[in-house]
């Protein structure tokens, strides 16, 4: 489904990603882990089409070249990013925002727009999924939300948008255990053979609730290792030190626990 090959990204001439390869099949859940500043968010935004990046390599979703498109076209192609730092938009009603987003995507795909009443039903369902209070929809997009509420709002949006590929950037940071479980339940319920999920995280904690098929380690702008979920446990115990400081010529600094996909 998602094919990323030799993706490089630099900002103002400073390279951040250098030759990143990643392939995510339909229905799979992948996790990307890596130390602070290793380029995880940059990867998400390079896929989503944020301005200001110089990009090389290729990235396709269902065979469609993502990198050639505007951000909204990538969204219409089925890409959803759960932002690490969701943006506040004062005065814009959350519900209105979501419906406009959904209908924009539907319109772009030549689908019929969804009416206010039908939308409300869709939104209600999605809200139950993330156990969100009703008044949430009537507040401004992320404005004055707590950190946890913003993250829930991202999941809510994902549940409403029903993307082909959801890339969740540190959606678990700053959440207490209860919120974490709610979010995990939300993600799990959206798992389907047609939908793939990439979870960017620091902690293996979330992966206890959302079992990834593959875990990748992103260090220094490229995927340096991949394995099954036990890799996450390894990282939890040993940190990234063995990946960060290892001599490029020697073998990777951890015993092989799984096979790269």
């Amino acid at each position: 489904m998602l094919m990323v090959e030799n993706l490089s990204t630099s900002i103002g001439g400073t390279p951040i990603l250098e030759g990143l390869d990643l392939s995510v099949g339909a229905g799979e859940v992948h996790a990307i882990m890596g130390p602070n500043g290793s380029g995880k968010s940059t990867f998400a935004h390079a896929l989503a089409g944020r301005d200001g990046y110089e990009i090389g390599g290729t990235a396709t979703l269902d065979g469609v070249d993502l990198l050639a498109m505007d951000p909204e076209a990538r969204a219409a192609a089925g890409l959803f990013i759960g932002f690490q730092y969701p943006v506040e938009i004062p005065g814009v009603n959350n519900m209105y925002f979501l419906r406009t987003a959904l209908n924009s995507v539907r319109r772009a795909r030549g689908e019929e727009e969804i009416g206010a009443r039908d939308f409300l039903a869709v939104a209600r369902e999605a809200m139950e999924l993330v156990e969100m209070k009703k008044d949430f929809l009537n507040r401004s997009v992320n404005a004055g939300f707590s950190g946890g509420e913003k993250k829930r709002n991202e999941i809510l949006q994902m549940a409403i948008m029903r993307p082909r590929l959801a890339l969740l950037d540190e959606t678990d940071s700053g959440l207490d255990i209860d919120a974490l479980q709610i979010i995990a339940a939300g993600v799990n319920s959206l798992r389907s053979p047609e939908r793939s999920v990439v979870i960017i995280t620091h902690y293996q904690r979330l992966l206890d609730y959302i079992k990834p098929d593959v875990v990748h380690v992103l260090v220094g702008g490229r995927i340096v290792d991949s394995g099954d979920h036990t890799l996450a446990h390894y990282l939890e115990d040993h940190g990234y030190a063995n990946f960060v400081n290892h001599d490029p010529d020697s073998a990777p600094g951890r015993p092989l626990t799984g096979t790269a996909s």
Binding site: G49, A75, V87, G91, R99
Partner: protein, 512 residues
């Protein structure tokens, strides 16, 4: 969505029964935003939609302003002598006054002698029913989306339509009369209710208040008059629709609204003008009197022709609006100013009675070469008086937007409270935003707060919306509407829809 592009604020397409006059505002929060998503998306033309002119057979006075002009206007309207004398006094005062110093405005000098001070569509002199309205005028209003025909009116809004200087029709008179509400043209009021007019005319905006108020007092031609008796809650929204049609005319209308003790009224005002190359002058005076415990809500959507990209043409909109609030009374001004080459107006409240309340909510947009200089004055005289000012200025193109306001707390105003918030949004590198508040406090128990901010639409906000699938234009429009939300929430539904639509049209081309 049921609202079409051609509809506008006077409510051809009202759905359901969500009508409210001065109902609590909180009940509709959010609706305004959700109702208009499609309209905004659908907007295609950035051009001024109301720029057509209509060939009306018009009775026009020759240009020039002398005492004789004043006498002519008064005679045309068959006015009582006291009113003529009042006009002449105003004219004398005006002659002794100097034009205001345009601190922030770039303005071509106005030749007051080149203007015509009387232009009236010729039609049957007396209107017995709506069917008597000149069909051409009716067509014109239909084109603007304002049906004057009562049968055609779906909405619960009484309309007074003013073309050039003269009120051409007032709808729903009978219904209103049942409730004891007088809603008619100013000229009719002078004939039918002279004692009311005489008592209140000039009582809030004195003749010499400022240059344009004096001019208006001398030459005003018509306007709307509205009287709500004690204890009456006006059964429908009252609305005046202003249209400048003739060339080289000034429009000088006068509005007087009197709400007796415990009376309530919500009043709407809309304005358009044809697209013309020369500047036209609009100098109106609006006076509101809210007696004890009365409430007046006055909403304006002003969309006079703004002129073109090079600043050619457009209306000079110099308006004096002021209300006097007696004990426990409330006056609330809401305005959305997207039109006019120059807007110069400061809707004000004299908070005279104890516990009276004044509010001002404003969205002013300046694009192209538009200049908006607007704000509010809140004069606290009574004890425990409260005022709030929420001003949203949007500048784009080469527009200049100025908030100018005065909050004055007199020594007598124990425990007065004011909160002012002025936010500016700058959408281009050639535009400007200016915030010039005056705050004068003479009572230590007063609490006055002023906050202002200036910002631009964040790249991150646009990107976030686009990641969710919206186009850049839609995202921009949505964010700007969000910026104005607190003000739009104050507008009656039709106006809110119209206001958002106008804003989106004016913003076209602001992206990128």
């Amino acid at each position: 969505m049921s609202i079409q592009l051609t509809s506008n604020w006077l409510g051809t397409q009202r759905t359901g029964s969500d009508h409210r006059s001065i109902a609590p505002l909180s009940s509709k929060r959010g609706h305004a935003m959700t109702r208009t998503s499609q309209e905004i998306n659908d907007l295609a033309e950035a051009s001024y939609e109301y720029g057509f002119s209509t060939d009306l057979d018009t009775d026009i006075a020759p240009p020039g302003l002398t005492e004789d002009t004043v006498r002519l206007i008064s005679a045309k309207k068959d006015e009582p002598d006291w009113l003529l004398q009042w006009r002449l006094k105003a004219f004398e005062a005006w002659q002794g006054m100097t034009e205001p110093d345009w601190a922030k405005l770039e303005i071509a000098p106005i030749d007051y002698q080149a203007l015509s001070y009387w232009a009236a569509p010729k039609q049957k002199p007396v209107l017995d029913s709506m069917d008597d309205v000149d069909p051409e005028i009716r067509d014109m209003f239909d084109k603007l989306g304002i049906p004057l025909h009562e049968q055609k009116m779906l909405s619960n809004v009484a309309v007074d339509a003013i073309v050039d200087s003269v009120s051409v029709t007032t709808t729903f008179k009978a219904t209103l009369a049942e409730a004891g509400v007088i809603f008619c043209s100013f000229s009719e009021a002078v004939q039918d209710h002279p004692e009311l007019v005489r008592e209140h005319l000039g009582s809030v905006v004195p003749v010499r208040d400022n240059y344009f108020a004096a001019l208006n007092s001398a030459v005003f031609s018509d306007g709307s008059f509205c009287y709500i008796p004690s204890g009456v809650r006006c059964p429908m929204e009252l609305s005046t629709y202003f249209r400048i049609n003739s060339q080289n005319t000034g429009q000088f209308e006068r509005t007087l609204i009197i709400a007796e003790d415990d009376a309530h009224v919500s009043y709407l005002e809309g304005c358009t003008a044809p697209q013309r190359d020369e500047n036209q002058l609009h100098a109106a005076v609006v006076e509101l009197v809210a007696k004890d415990r009365a409430e007046i809500k006055y909403s304006t959507v002003q969309n006079w022709y703004p002129g073109d990209e090079n600043g050619v043409g457009g209306i000079y909109n110099f308006v004096t609006k002021r209300g006097r609030a007696h004990t426990d009374a409330k006056i609330s001004w809401t305005q959305v100013e997207t039109g006019s080459a120059i807007t110069w107006k400061y809707p004000s409240v004299i908070l005279q009675g104890d516990r009276s309340i004044g509010e001002f909510y404003s969205v002013a947009l300046s694009s192209k070469r538009q200049q908006a200089d607007t704000g509010s004055k809140m004069i606290h005289i009574g004890a425990d008086t409260t005022s709030s000012i929420i001003s949203k200025g949007i500048s784009t193109g080469r527009g200049q937007n100025t908030y100018r306001g005065l909050v004055k707390v007199m020594r007598s105003a124990e425990n007065a409270r004011n909160y002012t918030q002025c936010d500016s949004l700058l959408l281009s590198s050639d535009c400007g935003a200016h915030t010039i508040p005056y705050i004068e406090v003479k009572n230590p128990t007063a609490k006055v707060e002023h906050e202002a901010s200036t910002s631009t639409v964040g790249e991150d906000q646009l990107y976030y919306c686009r990641q969710r699938g919206m186009t850049e234009e839609d995202a921009m429009s949505m964010i700007v509407n969000g910026f104005c939300r607190e003000v739009f929430d104050e507008l009656p539904m039709e106006f809110a829809v119209e206001a958002q639509r106008l804003l989106s049209v004016s913003l076209e081309g602001s992206v990128g």
